[in-house]
Symmetry: D2
Subunit: 249 residues, 4 copies
């Protein structure tokens, strides 16, 4: 089994290193990851300039692009990489609810959707994680199970792991994404030359975080596993939209 | 009515200018758009540095960030902007099927999901559009209708317009997103110093483009209108995932 | 006469526009300038990615690179540009003393050193200039004189103009560069996530700003004109360095 | 003795690592270097955004900025760094003649000009160096000698070392900078979307490379040591410029 590992925190991230080492027990691991932290990159693709890929002393390949660029390169051309699955992470910090829209970790997994196996994005619920090995062990379990009992190919599993020893996990839960309130206001400041600058504010507080959500699972000590899709069509609205459009033109 | 207009081609894009002028007939238009072309930016947010916003001679506000940054700034803090709706575009080029995952145009509309009205992303089916006014007129129609007969608040309407005179449109169609095959291989080259470089290849050809899809609507001369959602949960897979996980831990 | 105009404030800078219009009285003006503000770029050249050049509606060519990239492109390859002289500016803000080491305005002029005529960098002494037309008139005078009475080809004239009406100038002065003290300390701050960030502090105060210096000329109402060289060798130290090295190896 | 080490190839460059290790024999070494390759950065300073400094596992501090930013930060604010000297390199590739105008390696040394000792920029004459230890040993020799027999404080020593074993060096030579012809033409190409792109071409061939120049020293197996200055005034032209200006205004 050939496993492509990527992330959005950059190729030097401890979470990535721990993940790659753990997955090596299951097959051949190839790491293609951004040269620096690209958190918040979402599915952005670099179209206006060429990319460079560089093999580092530890065998990892770093790319001067986004997480999506990394997986895209690996799947559509870098010689001798033909993975069966993409595992992205371990992210330092949660990717819960609306976070997944902006997440580079999830985007790297999304880019693996044309492979025969589902892709996995895995994140620690803490941004200063103490128990990366817990998430690594969860990743190994999930990849093993996927190999034995495949799920639908184009599913992406978005996994969030509480920051605690493996033995203290409450279990695994299939969850839906919760939702957050609107983000906190931007933070206005001045640069030393007196010019106004704006920082994007923190993500909003939880709005829909009750039973069944990823927020609730992690809060109660469970590994949250959310099946994601790439079809953004709101199918439930198609019929009403059709009648709403009646008379246009 | 206050209309926030943004795009991903940059604040100087002809498509943006035509759109802003047309919408001015319906209310107050505020333009907040990237300082340069940010096509392919998806929902990426700039978290590692502050942003700058600058009012240009024509009243447009340019931001040195992504489309999502622009709308985020406008909705969470730039003084005196409290729009009722976000309209993003007019993109020079289609956003059909899988394109929406990577599209900065769609991402700008997505960022408006906390407003009381749906958001609209509007794109010309040609990357060298001759009939921007057709799309502008479509945008006006849709915003007018939304004002009179609101749809669900968090819907994003992804609109693709054939590049032809308005009178030659075949009509409006509610569509689902089609799908593309895997992207074309990366394009390898050498820089003048002999080092290897890689360009992201073109989007893949249409795979699922039959009746009901956005691809088919545009191909047959219709304005394609796809309702998008921001909930990425694959709800249909929740139950089976639950049983698949049985026995973990 | 063909005049290449560039700057470091970007192709939309009022100073650039005023300069290009004024010089059009003397010959054909071609503007190749950065797409955005690149102050502080010094002589940096973009070697790791390709550049793009785009002709704007007003005929200016914008380049997604540094001031040096702009002039380099114009002199080594953009079709149909074979200028006789490079004029860079009008910078909004002074380039006095040590400033010239970091200045993109001066760097653009430096890059013209292989032409048959000297190059000119021209700056307003105020960063919020009210009298750009004064500097434009000075530029025209200098180019005219250079055409009539050429100076050495590889000289760069670094010109700083007091921000006042032309009639109130005290005159023109040939000056040497003064010197500044060490820069002010960096400005430490925290981003909204609590991480430390550092802003480069303001330039240091004047240290050597007495008679004969560019600082003194501008302070007393004169246009300061400093002849610059590109030979950084400290010739006066060559002999003593030779003896200092004696015995090495 | 406290030695600040920087470079322009990035904090992971083998040349930097070898240099830091060698200089540790002479005193306390602090490394502050760019997070990635910034060759060609010249003296550019980052003024439009804040910088981040991060201590890596090996003790090096990486900065997301230019070589000049690194030294500037170290000298004007990073706590507990008060070096006596700056040594920049070992660059992979020569910095001869006009190269020094564009060199980030030389710029890092230039930024140390306010210290009490000269600064040193050191480069290997080959861009794929085999004998970095030769340059490291040269650097140690020069720093030792500077400590014993100081030169003028604001001198920058630009050192280029032939890529051969130390025992095969022909000696040390004090040199002046040679000059190059105009750079090779830009390299035009098309991106995969058919848009024109331009690569900066190679540096021009040697024009003034005879006896006494840095080119000649390296070509004949000598370590070339050129004393540089930061005063760009062309003093020899001041008088004639004054008379040339007569009658202006």
């Amino acid at each position: 089994m050939k496993i492509l590992v990527s992330n959005d925190d950059g190729y030097q991230s401890p979470g990535l290193i721990v993940l790659a080492e753990a997955l090596a027990a299951l097959g051949e691991v190839v790491v293609v990851a951004p040269e620096r932290d690209r958190s918040g990159a979402s599915n952005s693709l670099t179209l206006d300039r060429p990319l460079r890929a560089k093999r580092m002393p530890n065998g990892f390949i770093q790319v001067d692009g986004t997480p999506t660029d990394c997986v895209h390169l690996a799947l559509t051309g870098l010689p001798s990489i033909e993975p069966d699955i993409v595992v992205s992470g371990i992210n330092h910090g949660p990717n819960l609810g609306d976070d997944v829209l902006y997440s580079g970790t999830v985007a790297a997994a999304t880019e693996g959707r044309f492979l025969g196996l589902p892709s996995i994005a895995i994140s620690m619920a803490s941004s200063t994680p103490q128990h990366l090995d817990t998430a690594a062990r969860v990743a190994v379990q999930l990849v093993e199970r996927l190999r034995e009992r495949p799920l639908e190919a184009s599913i992406i599993l978005n996994v969030n792991v509480p920051d605690r020893p493996y033995a203290e996990l409450a279990g695994f839960k299939a969850t839906r994404l919760g939702h957050r309130h609107k983000a906190e206001p931007i933070v206005e400041a001045r640069d030393p030359r007196g010019q106004p600058i704006y920082w994007i504010g923190p993500a909003g507080p939880e709005q829909d975080a009750g039973p069944g959500t990823d927020f609730e699972a992690v809060r109660t000590g469970f590994v949250s596993i959310t099946p994601l899709q790439v079809d953004l069509t709101r199918h439930s609205a198609l019929a009403s939209l059709g009648s709403w459009l009646a008379g246009c033109v």
